[in-house]
């Protein structure tokens, strides 16, 4: 049995993946969705659709409303307003039926640390009503998939952070979900562990599992997501594929100019004034200037023509991080 195989209740036909525009089936349908906790409005009216077979991302700073939205989609948190349909069902009335077809990888590991790795999987399968035999065979396949087979009999207590995340992801797959929710799947992991997890998630995506991911790692979003929304202050600030977002909210390239350690921020402002017509947008940072332009090299040449001598110059492509910072600002929100 293929560990990545899902129940196929939604489409059954995985070849339709990639042609989402033709036969679009909305697995998550959201209109005007709100969530308040007392006086605090965590989600303030958002619209979105997640289509069958895609990897959909929620980006946003802490407190943007990502996790609240995820919990509502996970059918464990009642909505405060708006419409929410998951797999065509209403979570207010069909919570258990929806959750039976979801896999959830929460932000905190909620593994049982006193049980073994394998027991964590078998017991979770029981919650979905799988038979004990089914749970056992499923657990073995998934341990293989997340490369934890030799840890099967080890207590969860003894696992590293990366192993725990992999186990949590394996656990979320026990029921062969149609839709997998991953809330900050790689937060707190070292680069090796992150890349290993990305490989696993990419394989799931290839197998046709619909993924919804929250993250504040831009590289993660660029790696994994076909489409994403940037959330800020409980609202959706932008929506699109990573490439579309870069196109719409940034320039093709960014030229970074550093003027050496003895140049003060006030000097930076003056310098920015001298180059602002060379780029579509100039951003002043304490240690450097960012020139957003479609042709970075030409901007560099023009800077030199004006007699400015930056200590270091870097021309790079725009990334999602540029989009993100433009949309959500550089100020720390806590």
């Amino acid at each position: 049995m293929d560990p990545l195989e899902t129940t196929g209740k939604v489409s059954g036909d995985r070849s339709s993946v990639g042609r989402v525009s033709e036969q679009r089936e909305s697995l998550v349908h959201v209109r005007g969705l709100r969530k308040s906790y007392g006086d605090f409005e965590a989600v303030r009216g958002i619209d979105l659709d997640v289509w069958q077979g895609e990897a959909f991302g929620f980006l946003g700073p802490n407190g943007a409303g990502k996790s609240s939205t995820m919990r509502m989609i996970g059918a464990v948190s009642p909505t405060s307003g708006g419409t929410l349909r998951i797999l065509g069902l209403d979570p207010a009335t069909d919570g258990p039926a929806i959750r039976a077809r979801l896999g959830v990888c929460p932000q905190d590991d909620t593994l049982d640390t006193e049980l073994t790795v394998r027991e964590n999987l078998t017991i979770y399968g029981r919650y979905f009503g799988l038979s004990r035999a089914e749970c056992r065979s499923r657990a073995d396949e998934l341990l293989e998939f997340v490369a934890l087979t030799d840890k099967a009999k080890v207590k969860v207590d003894e696992l590293s952070g990366g192993m725990k995340r992999r186990l949590t992801i394996a656990r979320s797959l026990v029921s062969k979900p149609d839709l997998l929710l991953l809330d900050e799947p790689t937060t707190g992991l070292d680069p090796q562990a992150r890349h290993l997890l990305w490989d696993k998630l990419f394989r799931l995506k290839q197998a046709g599992v619909t993924l919804i991911i929250t993250t504040h790692y831009m590289d993660e979003a660029e790696q994994l997501c076909d489409r994403l929304v940037v959330m800020d202050g409980g609202l959706i600030a932008a929506e699109g594929s990573p490439a579309e977002l870069i196109r719409d909210y940034s320039t093709r390239e960014v030229t970074e100019l550093r003027f050496g350690p003895d140049v003060m921020l006030s000097d930076h402002d003056a310098l920015a004034g001298k180059v602002e017509d060379l780029a579509q947008r100039v951003e002043v940072l304490p240690d450097r200037l960012l020139l957003y332009t479609d042709d970075g090299e030409r901007a560099v040449a023009a800077v030199h023509e004006r007699g400015l001598e930056p200590a270091a110059v870097l021309v790079r492509r725009s990334t999602l991080e540029d989009v993100f910072l433009r949309l959500t600002g550089r100020t720390l929100v806590d």
Binding site: S77, R99, Y127, F128, S175
Partner: protein, 261 residues
């Protein structure tokens, strides 16, 4: 609806059995050794002293036979409270396994039913073993005393369910100290397990009648000594059942409030 709750509760009960396979050895001391020590110290040690002054005040039975049925009920209470406090806090807050449970088809109510089913299992199995020990010591006067086992189970559930509900209102485990200091210990000492509550000042005597443990102690003892009065037995049972039913309702409410936000 009821069938679904049973099926879902059973799925969750599996979790507790899996956990218990790992932890049962640690529960041996609290479940068996402690009550046995009480039985030996009070029933046999203190008992020989009490009996030597005549058993008239106890209605003509040996002190061991007087306290053994009550001790069975008191043991049930202690195990039940232990299982309804820290494990519940762990599921809500420390290990958060309840949170992962409700991300599956299980509902908060199912989590409560599974939890209570496991507490019932713990109370029943521990008390069954304890009852065997009591019988071997000669602690039962009549065979009807074995009916103390279901009564012990009932008092366990009568206290476990409201305490589990109370646990959902706490942010940390310091509230449990109150339960033990002002609930379990006084109940254990003053609910008639060791002496008739009529010996107490009136106002404490009335407190004893309010305590579910007194009703269980009284019923267990009357069963063993062959002094059951049907109407009183019915009152005892109804009172314990009321605690259990209301407690379960409160627990479902508490779990839902805490888990579904």
């Amino acid at each position: 609806m009821a069938a679904l709750a049973v099926e879902n509760g059973r799925r969750m009960f599996d979790y507790w059995l899996t956990v218990y396979k790992r932890t049962w050895k640690g529960t041996l001391i609290s479940s068996f050794l402690l009550p046995m020590l009480y039985l030996a110290a009070m029933g046999i040690g203190l008992g020989s002293f009490v009996d030597s002054n005549g058993t008239g005040a106890l209605g003509g039975v040996s002190y061991l036979q007087y306290i053994a049925p009550g001790l069975l009920a008191a043991t049930a209470l202690q195990i039940a409270v232990g299982e309804a406090t820290y494990p519940v806090m762990s599921g809500l807050k420390w290990q958060k396994f309840y949170h992962s449970m409700i991300a599956t088809p299980l509902r908060p109510a199912d989590v409560v039913y599974g939890q209570l089913a496991f507490i019932a299992f713990r109370v029943f199995s521990s008390c069954a073993v304890f009852l065997v020990i009591i019988t071997l010591f000669g602690g039962l006067k009549t065979p009807l005393g074995v009916l103390g086992l279901p009564v012990a189970l009932l008092v366990g559930m009568a206290v476990a369910s409201p305490i589990a509900a109370y646990a959902t209102t706490l942010d940390n485990d310091s509230g449990f100290a109150i339960v033990f200091r002002f609930g379990v210990v006084p109940a254990f000492l003053f609910s008639g397990a060791f002496f008739p509550v009529s010996q107490l000042p009136d106002w404490i005597e009335w407190l004893a009648y309010v305590s579910p443990l007194w009703h269980a102690v009284d019923l267990c003892r009357n069963l063993s000594l062959g002094t059951v009065e049907p109407w009183l037995a019915l009152v005892n049972l109804a009172y314990l059942l009321a605690w259990f039913v209301i407690g379960t309702w409160l627990a479902v409410r508490g779990f839902t409030k805490r888990l579904v936000r």
